[in-house]
């Protein structure tokens, strides 16, 4: 649970990552913490039928561990978003298995998968996907309401989440009244409010300027390193490379690269944004 008073004190003394570190505490004490938390094996996703059938993903196997920020890269149409959707239990593959927190979700009912998404996975979208009619605060409260958390305590937690992403004074604003960076930070606060161990982010910095992009990247890295969450980021943006712990590369629906990278710098790189048409330049 977030502590507003503590956060307010910290806010004046430390950077955003420190706030995140202090705010979303108590992560991953379970035995599964250091195991592979999210895994797909021999997964294929097909589109169309007959001659028009094409693979969005073909026989992909990959596993993800907590405490790491994994960058999922590849050219347009390579299957990154499809893989993210499969990992997020939003799309059911035609073949292969998906294991989330040690559970094979094949055969799970839609309502069970809905509950899994609600309680265990946080989503960050390129287009933010905030509810335009709700204020920043209400967007976060809605995610809490879905988990059955309402009332004063929920409000305090939402205030703390806004504080953690540096938007404590903007809770009353509608999405249209916020900048792209602010919206993405609200979306991250919403994704984290139910304390999910898995964070899936689709092009989280694509719509943001450099400064906002850095803030969001810093946040996501903090969630992985400081709080031992599993963070998967889909991006075309090579500036993520110095930040991630691991790089997974897809092309034409197939896994073509899986590299453990390096110690991270904690900042986005300074290279220009690359939208590769073929193999990804490192």
């Amino acid at each position: 649970m977030l502590n507003t008073a503590e956060l307010k004190t910290s806010r004046t003394t430390g950077p955003l990552v420190e706030l995140v570190k202090k705010s979303f505490t108590g992560r991953l004490q379970s035995p599964i913490a250091q195991q592979e938390m999210l895994e797909v094996q021999n997964v294929s996703v097909e589109y169309g039928t007959g001659r028009a059938m094409a693979y969005a993903l073909e026989d992909v196997s990959v596993a993800f561990s907590p405490g790491k920020l994994t960058l999922l890269m590849g050219p347009s149409g390579s299957g990154k978003t499809t893989l993210l959707s499969v990992l997020g239990c939003l799309v059911t593959p035609n073949r292969g298995s998906v294991r989330v927190l040690g559970n094979d979700i094949a055969g799970w009912s839609e309502s069970a998968k809905t509950e899994l998404r609600r309680e265990k996975i946080g989503y960050v979208f390129q287009a933010f996907r905030l509810f335009r009619a709700l204020t920043a605060m209400e967007n976060i409260l809605l995610a809490m309401e879905l988990s059955g958390r309402t009332g004063r305590q929920a409000r305090e937690a939402a205030e703390a989440a806004l504080l953690a992403v540096g938007l404590e004074s903007k809770g009353h604003l509608l999405p249209k009244e916020m900048s792209g960076g602010e919206k993405q930070r609200v979306a991250i606060a919403r994704a984290l409010i139910n304390d999910p161990p898995i964070i899936l982010a689709d092009e989280p910095t694509a719509s943001l300027d450099s400064k906002s992009g850095n803030q969001v990247a810093e946040l996501l890295l903090g969630l992985a390193e400081q709080q031992n969450r599993l963070v998967v980021v889909v991006s075309h943006d090579n500036r993520w490379l110095p930040l991630c712990h691991r790089k997974v590369v897809l092309q034409n629906g197939c896994l073509i690269g899986d590299d453990v990278t390096r110690n991270t710098t904690g900042k986005l790189g300074t290279g220009r944004l690359v939208r590769p048409s073929g193999a990804l330049a490192a």
Partner: protein, 371 residues
């Protein structure tokens, strides 16, 4: 509730259009319902006002407005039946009424013996029960049409002398021809019934007597006539005017069309509102909203629109019905009609949201990752 309300208020123009559509549909249903209810009520008004438990009517006759003669002796025969307390007569028919300007108007003349519930009869005084001769009573809604500016007013009925002696209310005609009331004997004369003829007999059953038993006894005694209870005759009359003539059918059809038009308007608006927020519903599903929560939001949007629209429609109806009373005196809005139409409007909105809900539930949550 908050998300539903905010989704609606976020696009105020669409919300206003939706509310106007629902308000119009509600108004249309209440107004057409008032016309229909008023028509049904007016079509049996004379029968309902009679206060008689039983009616003896010419065989196969459906309503007062299209009567035919009965033998006068049926009255004496009826009086001899055990359990009959009184028998009062009613003569009626279309007559030519000459206005003071010399113009003629076709009116429906009714003349009853006094003491028949609320059926108007020109009396010298209420206490005496003596009937004023050659005196007519005109409903206030027809006073202008019949050029009744002052009382008494000398006129002619079927070229015979008469005086308009009073104005009554509550007997506005739905026929086009105004109702005009007079005493029984004058009615027989004006309508031109023979000396041995009458038209309808209205039976009061003696206290303590069983109405059904008396009815059966009368039927046995008067096999050439129909003996029916007041409510049966009222229903027969309503059925005739509403169904057989097609006039009520047209009103009923208009009412149903109001409902259908409303349903289409509401469906389109609710569907459009839902489609506008389709991406948000996909997001809701992606972040783990149960299907019932999503259904609830769509349904709440529909019901909020329905409640607001119905209320406005209701508020618009009352002044317009009052205004219409000047032209259509028999329009009638019973208390249950607006309440019923609000329920119908809400049901209509719920029904309209079903298509939207199906669409929303079918959304693939994976679309949220497509920018």
């Amino acid at each position: 509730m908050k998300l539903a309300w905010r989704n609606l208020s976020n696009d105020r123009m669409r919300f206003v259009v939706t509310i106007i559509g629902i308000a119009f549909a509600t108004f249309l249903m209440i107004f057409q319902g008032s016309l229909f209810t008023g028509f049904v009520r007016a079509s049996s008004k004379v029968i309902d006002a009679s206060g008689a438990e039983l009616w003896v009517v010419p065989r196969g006759i459906s309503c007062v407005e299209f009567g035919s003669p009965l033998p006068q002796r049926f009255r004496e025969l009826a009086l001899g039946v055990p359990g009959v307390a009184s028998v009062r007569r009613l003569a009626a028919g279309y007559v030519s009424y000459q206005k003071t300007s010399g113009q003629r108007e076709s009116v429906f003349l009714l003349g009853a013996d006094p003491g028949n519930g609320k059926l108007p009869v020109p009396l010298l005084s209420a206490e005496s029960g003596a009937v004023l001769t050659e005196t007519l009573l005109v409903d206030e809604s027809n006073a202008d049409k019949l050029e009744v500016a002052t009382l008494p007013l000398a006129v002619e009925v079927n070229r015979q002398r008469a005086n308009v002696g009073g104005i009554i209310n509550g007997f506005g005609s739905f026929l086009g021809a105004p109702y005009v009331f007079t005493g029984y004997r004058d009615a027989v004369r004006y309508v031109g019934l023979g000396a041995e003829e009458t038209m309808f007999l209205m039976i009061q059953v003696a206290p303590g007597s069983d109405v059904e038993t008396v009815r059966q006894a009368l039927s046995s005694r008067l096999p050439q006539a129909d003996v029916v209870t007041r409510s049966e005759f009222a229903f027969r009359s309503q059925f005739f005017w509403v169904v057989k003539t097609g006039a009520g059918g047209a009103l009923l059809t208009a009412g149903l069309l109001g409902f259908v038009v409303g349903l289409v308007i509401v469906s389109q608006n609710i569907y459009a509102t839902t489609m506008e927020n389709l991406e948000e519903f996909a997001t809701l599903k992606a972040i783990g909203a149960p299907a019932n929560f999503v259904r609830g939001v769509v349904l709440q949007q529909a019901l909020i629109s329905g409640a607001a629209g119905a209320l406005i429609g209701l508020l618009a109806t009352f002044p317009l019905v009052q205004l219409t009373l000047r032209f259509i005196s028999w329009i009638y809005t019973p208390w249950w009609l607006p309440l019923g139409m609000i329920v119908v409007s809400l049901l209509m909105c719920a029904l309209a949201s079903v298509v939207s809900i199906r669409k929303v539930i079918a959304i693939e949550p994976g679309r949220v990752f497509r920018a």
